[in-house]
Symmetry: C2
């Protein structure tokens, strides 16, 4: 795409990879978070050690990983990486008001969709803004040491944590990566070495809805679903959206037909079949309206 902008020239892109905010509620997604995903490698002694003999003298990279992670993000969900929020664009007052009007039952979301007793994240930021317009930092798993049945008293020689941050507009993945790497170095405890190694990055994106492609798409979905189309963002990533914007200079129309309980990228993922058929209809109607 980078080398063939003329050949790939288009007016707009249509992407069907996002969610409807609620069943039967036509929804356009106009913003995506994206990601810096990497591995935090922490090395202690040359080899695994016996915790009786060496405990009190040898560094524990598994514990050091916990120390680094808790230095990167506090208990309230604030990322403590210096400079990390500097480029974050706040949602407009209009967008915030629209989000506040979305049909949403927080208790049902908490209990039925997420299955937790309490939602977390920066307490001073409203829920949709936390998920759609704020960066996050998550640890996905930590490799190393002993995790089998029973007890083994090993001080592991190394630990590797899978760590990612979701970025929002206008954060830059390369800059965010450097900030993470610097923060890991600064937080590294005595006796171990720590390094954040990149696996991949992609840039976040924010689509300006004031263009005829988004407008026609909203109208097409309204006609097919029989309700006013709402505008949301997504906390997930579709890296091609950023690339379309950067290299081709075209807007992406994100007409999505997933549902909140589809268990996206998780066990028992599904697709609601009526949405599949109405989705086809909505995309066809969109092309008709555009061509009219």
């Amino acid at each position: 795409m980078k080398s063939k902008p003329a050949r790939l020239k288009a007016d707009a892109a249509v992407i069907c990879d996002t969610e409807m905010f609620a069943p039967d509620l036509p929804t356009l997604c106009v913003g995506l978070r994206d990601i810096v995903y990497g591995e935090l490698h922490v090395q202690g002694a040359r080899q695994d050690l016996h915790s009786g003999i060496y405990g009190g003298a040898a560094p524990n990279p598994m514990m050091a990983t916990a120390e680094i992670l808790t230095a990167l993000k506090d208990r309230e969900g604030h990322i403590k990486i210096p400079g990390f929020y500097d480029r974050v664009v706040e949602p407009s007052a209009k967008e915030r008001e629209a989000w506040a009007r979305l049909p949403f039952d927080v208790e049902e979301y908490k209990e039925k969709e997420v299955g937790v007793r309490e939602l977390v994240g920066e307490p001073e930021i409203p829920l949709f803004e936390r998920m759609w317009a704020r960066p996050t930092l998550e640890v996905h798993g930590i490799r190393g040491g002993f995790i089998g049945e029973g007890a083994k008293t090993v001080i592991p020689a190394r630990a590797v944590a899978k760590v990612s941050t979701r970025l929002v507009a206008d954060q830059r993945p390369d800059e965010a990566l450097k900030q993470i790497q610097a923060a890991v170095k600064a937080a590294c405890p005595k006796g171990v070495t720590a390094e954040f190694k990149l696996i991949h990055t992609a840039a976040p994106s924010l689509v300006n809805p004031d263009n005829r492609f988004i407008e026609m798409s909203a109208e097409a979905m309204k006609q097919v679903f029989g309700k006013e189309t709402v505008y949301i963002r997504s906390g997930g990533s579709i890296p091609i959206v950023g690339a379309f914007d950067e290299f081709l200079g075209i807007p992406s129309v994100m007409m999505g037909f997933g549902l909140p309980d589809d268990n996206l990228h998780a066990p028992n993922e599904k697709l609601h079949l009526p949405n599949f058929f109405r989705g086809i209809e909505a995309v066809a109607r969109y092309l008709e309206l555009l061509g009219a």
Copy 2:
């Protein structure tokens, strides 16, 4: 042993499961740490979740585990569990002086034996005391989430950390367990549940060296190895020593013939053969001296 003290009656026990402080240096071990080993179970949402969609709202039990662990022990190696040090007996001035006189090259220990650039642990406590006479807390591994090759953006539903503490005299395993469990509850962050489940415990022990069994053993080793016997403790655990003391009321003579570079309970474990033969000789000499 608990139900048959009369049948198991003995004057003393001899245990060959400890180390010589240095090659050719006859060594008696007179104190052992012991252990509370368990699993820290942390539960978040009902199932694994996508970190793009739910990041900023759903709790992360892997991160919560890091938060709990760092609340239990600070970066300098001090255990922050309330009451944990209350029963810890300090070594006598005589014992501390003897430890300070042991032939020991800290640089060689650090680089060759442990293989680290820096030793860690409570900075105000001397090294041998940290390893032999102070409790420790270690995490051995953390199960949960994604640890395979590449990237998966999962917020794990649960994490299980293998955690143990080494106890020293006069800490009591049952009491230490209750303290750990209370500290885990107190440190549990919002949105998750956390529980410390016991796998096993054993009591630490400290042998009074002023009895003829220890004295004869020191003399026998001196005769066989041709050097004055030194008294040390071990940071490891031999649960039967505590049981011999508690149920039979007998001292344990710990004549050990391992060497510091034996890689005890670790990859490439070995036993120095000359120590095997001189060990047999020393135990035989001990029995001769006792019977004389």
